[in-house]
Assembly symmetry: C2
Homo-oligomer: 318 residues x 2
Amino acid sequence: MNRITQLFKIQYPIIQAGMVWCSGYKLAAAVSNAGGLGLLGAGSMSAELLREQIQQCRLATNKPFGVNVPIMYARADEIIQVIIEEKVAIVFTSAGNPAKYTGLLKDHGITVVHVVPGVKFALKAQTAGVDAIVAEGFEAGGHNGREETTTLCLIPAVKDQIQIPLIAAGGIGDGRGMLSVIALGAEGVQIGSRFVASIESSAHQHFKELLLHLKEGDTMLSLKKLAPVRLVKNKFFQSVQLAEASGASAEELLILLSRGRAKRGMFEGDLEEGELEIGQIAVLIQEILPAAEILGRIWNEFLLAKTQLASWSISNET
Amino acid sequence: MNRITQLFKIQYPIIQAGMVWCSGYKLAAAVSNAGGLGLLGAGSMSAELLREQIQQCRLATNKPFGVNVPIMYARADEIIQVIIEEKVAIVFTSAGNPAKYTGLLKDHGITVVHVVPGVKFALKAQTAGVDAIVAEGFEAGGHNGREETTTLCLIPAVKDQIQIPLIAAGGIGDGRGMLSVIALGAEGVQIGSRFVASIESSAHQHFKELLLHLKEGDTMLSLKKLAPVRLVKNKFFQSVQLAEASGASAEELLILLSRGRAKRGMFEGDLEEGELEIGQIAVLIQEILPAAEILGRIWNEFLLAKTQLASWSISNET
């Protein structure tokens, strides 16, 4: 038995990341119905919108689903309140101190998972009492750690230090990637970028289509002064780089960002002036597919790759 | 049969990277004697020193070994001449245009491998006629690609585009890491950082001991204006960052570097004022061991992890 499928009562240890502007109930329900764990991305929702999304998600699936909450989000308190009122069973917290809400959520019988970019934070989350850890590497889209540790280096380092179940994130977009991190000691995967390019994701069609044409080096870690985030290198990215290079303060950068850049890019499809968060692994995306098909393909590729790897040998291996 | 062990006539598909100041004949011969492929790092040698090192290596092992040559190295022409004169069987080229020496080396019956940070460069190397590719990710120590692609994203992308054998590098320091990149489609691994902390490496004892205490975030990509290189964040690193932040030109940075910083750090053990190149995976290093033992441990961990992975399952997998 796998601790991740047990913890969430799901069929496959594949979690769809709760991404801002991309992860509404249609995506989450589709992934959960297909046997994975779908997450709503509360980081771009008002409390009332989240309540509506949770209710819609319940109508669309009778399987478990969850909500991702960035702890530093201005509306996090209200969001957590709605989650408790609506009796959501699973919460993934990220970007903030796991001690803040874990106790409260656990008191309401909610399964809590925290997303971390490093060992230090993983230990802190374990101490806070979370049920599992997502360790996310430098190649991931969106918010990212200051240490810039890649998934390949991060997973074994975290695995060696924690006892609770470990989910790998960052750089995983197909079955080979999944096998690779399971080999490192992860017990499940969280996949974001690949699900952005699904039929059901709420990302703008322009953004989804852009993903089909990204090449290596087309995303880069930005906003290192504020909070590092991996972005597509579009016109907005260039203006952030320029501002940073000319010594802009954190406050000035915040003003640049506060013009609804993420919504404008990912949700409204302004590929030049909008903020476009996506991971390095987007280079492997070739089609916009139904979420259930993405999940099914990843799982089948994983099983095939696992079988092939088991028979991998050099003549003098034994 | 494995294409990498066949190509080099070695027992295990594990290559010890030819690193500046760390990879002399003692290390290369120890790795080759243990069944891997040892490489001399010519990038910090004069042509005459390399000749001596090749001759010493032949006395120390009758197994295959090779030489790594950074193509942009000022002495590369002389180095290549010595390699041909001394009838070295295997050359790894890096940091430069693979078309420059591949034809000449192949004309002399030499097996040629080229190190790349991306798909574009891998295709160029394949066209140049090399026998195999090393694809090296962002987490690697020393010189690094501008695209910042991590090993997890790089290996499948390169694998999908080339037909010749593929060796993974960057972030591999134990058997789990090796299994992880083999799962992605690599046929062998090149390991640098872990072998720096070997008895036989020519790194200064102070540098080796520093590696036992590195923590996440203690290395960072630097010198992005010139040619990106991953360094330990010591005093020298801080002065490079300061120079870059205050708008230093490439020429000014070159002057900062040209004071023999790499030798001073890695070979002479000045941990403050010297340049210290090492990969992120150094966080996993806990002991300075004989190179043969490092290789043996990695291989045994790899076999064990492979067996464990083969029996990994969730209840409803089949």
